[in-house]
Amino acid sequence: MIIIPIKITIVKQEPIPSRTTYIHSQVVGVIALLFVLALVFAATSAQADQTQEIERLAEQIKQLKVEIQELTLVTEQNTKGLEATGDAMEMSLSGSSAKQKTSFKGYGELHYNRINADSGSNKRQIDFHRFVLFVGHHFNDRLRLIFEVELEHSLAGAGQPGEVELEQAYVEYDLNQNHRLKGGLILVPVGLLNETHEPPTFYGVERNEVEKTIIPTTWWAGGVGYTVTTKNGLTIDLSIHEGLKIPVGDDDNVNTDARIRSGRQKTAEANADNFAFTGRIRYAAIAGLELAASFQYQSDVTQAKDDGIGSATLVSLHAAYNSGPFGVRALYAMWNLDADSNTTGEAISAQGSNKQHGFYIEPSYRFGNDKVGVFARYEKVKGGRLRDRFNQLSLGANFWLYEKIVLKFDYVRRNHSQASYKDQNFDGINIGLGYYF
């Protein structure tokens, strides 16, 4: 609303003039009145125009508001659409959709051995010791299938040095977040290397002798396993699986070695008269520290009664600790075989093969931005075979060319305990190239 001030002038009444003057004054009055009326009309007309303009602007603002609301809605929808598209693309790119939950992994290691025995014999050998392919398929987030196939020594077949082996093939199911069951061909939960043995994860070209002779790594068996984890850092593994079948020969050719490693049946038409029970308790709630103890019992470790050996128990203890660049691993394992009271059993006892044990300790130090590690390892082994009784010192280094590729060098010196094997004492160097992916 525009208010136009109108000033009305009241003409003071003068004494009556002459007629001409009177007429003149009347005309002026009329003109003045007409002028005032014109002004009022003009003002009213302008006010009406402005009101219409304001109404028109108000209508435009109203329309713009509606358009803004519509655009905001469209923008929100587009944003949601873009985010959904982004999520779908990321899911596709990362392979996290259900049909793509199959992973393909593996590891391998090439060894060069240059060994000189005190007897004068030597060994110059290059060998692709292990080539392993691993497949994991996750049916959903709680049910998975794992299997692993290994080719040892590069060439398998009749008369060839290598073997093709199925080392893992099991189904695992999470009962809940802390309880799991698995069944199939599983790794026996014992020792430091049996379950984790990718070459870049341990020192030394060859695996330590205790976890080869006393704990027959890699040790797998058909059976079932149950794992429970607790909030305070404990993990308990319980397994029932195929047992060992340690060869003892027969009456005409008695084998008194009771070699544990030879007792692995590898789930290949394995004798299942006597299963083995394995339990492990592991503590890992302190950064850098792992403590574990394993126990195994088998009621008849030869799978036959009164043939020389009955039950067997294995106890294994290990500790691993890392603090900054320093690390140390230590392991002790002991078998106690119950020798029968017969000729074979007595011969096995006489050889001392009914009690087999060993330990090692391995300090290490990493430097060079964690790309170089040096280690020393001392181990003492008393296996069933006389040749498997020795102490061994290893000194060497790992060079991680890449996080998952390692170049290894070490020097080894072995001294046998048995006089009859003294000439087989040796020293030498090993070079290895290992990887996993």
């Binding site: 998975r144 069944g183 079932v224």
Partner: protein, 175 residues
């Protein structure tokens, strides 16, 4: 006899247990809860960072591969940034939560663990080692992290993601 009974019992239990196909990741903390608790349960709207060529190169140097997502979601308020990042240890992605304040790691938490080995990284004794760590000029963590025997790959994945969280925090703080 005891052996046969025990074996039969375990096999039976294994067969009759109701095999559910319902997803059950080992969720140690829901990601949204991790985000929420760092903002007094009033989180800001999330934002995305779309790494350019330069940032992608730096990410690749840390992870040894490209990040699995082409954009990375984060939450930021009053100098605090929170990140949910994923990296494969051996087979499947591990989801970790990181809170970064003033260029230093304030919290590292394993949120979802999907692998069947290496879950020991969930323990506070491991993740607490990261608290206070900041990024060096060469994009390394400014401190040593003690590993876990048998969980090497999960430990390495956690260290890589911790470095990535700090790098991304730097990227949005000084674009």
């Amino acid at each position: 006899m005891a052996t046969k009974f025990g074996f039969t019992a375990v096999c039976f239990a294994f067969m009759v247990w109701p095999v559910s196909t319902t997803a059950l990741d080992r969720v140690f903390e829901k990601p949204q809860e991790f985000v929420s608790r760092h903002f007094s349960h009033s989180p800001p709207p999330s934002s995305f960072i779309y790494p350019d060529a330069g940032l992608r190169k730096q990410i690749r140097a840390i992870l040894h591969h490209d990040y699995s997502k082409f954009r990375i979601r984060y939450w930021a308020k009053d100098g605090l940034t929170v990140w949910l990042l994923e990296e494969i240890g051996k087979e499947l992605p591990i989801t970790l939560g990181f809170a970064v304040n003033d260029g230093r790691l304030m919290t590292v938490r394993v949120l979802i663990f999907r692998e069947n080995r290496g879950w020991e990284i969930k323990y506070d004794s491991f993740t607490k080692q990261f608290v206070g760590a900041k990024l060096t000029k060469s994009h390394k963590l400014g401190r040593n992290i003690d590993g876990i025997t048998g969980a090497t790959m999960s430990v390495r994945a956690t260290v890589r993601l911790a470095r990535l969280a700090l790098l991304l925090d730097q990227a949005i703080s000084s674009p």
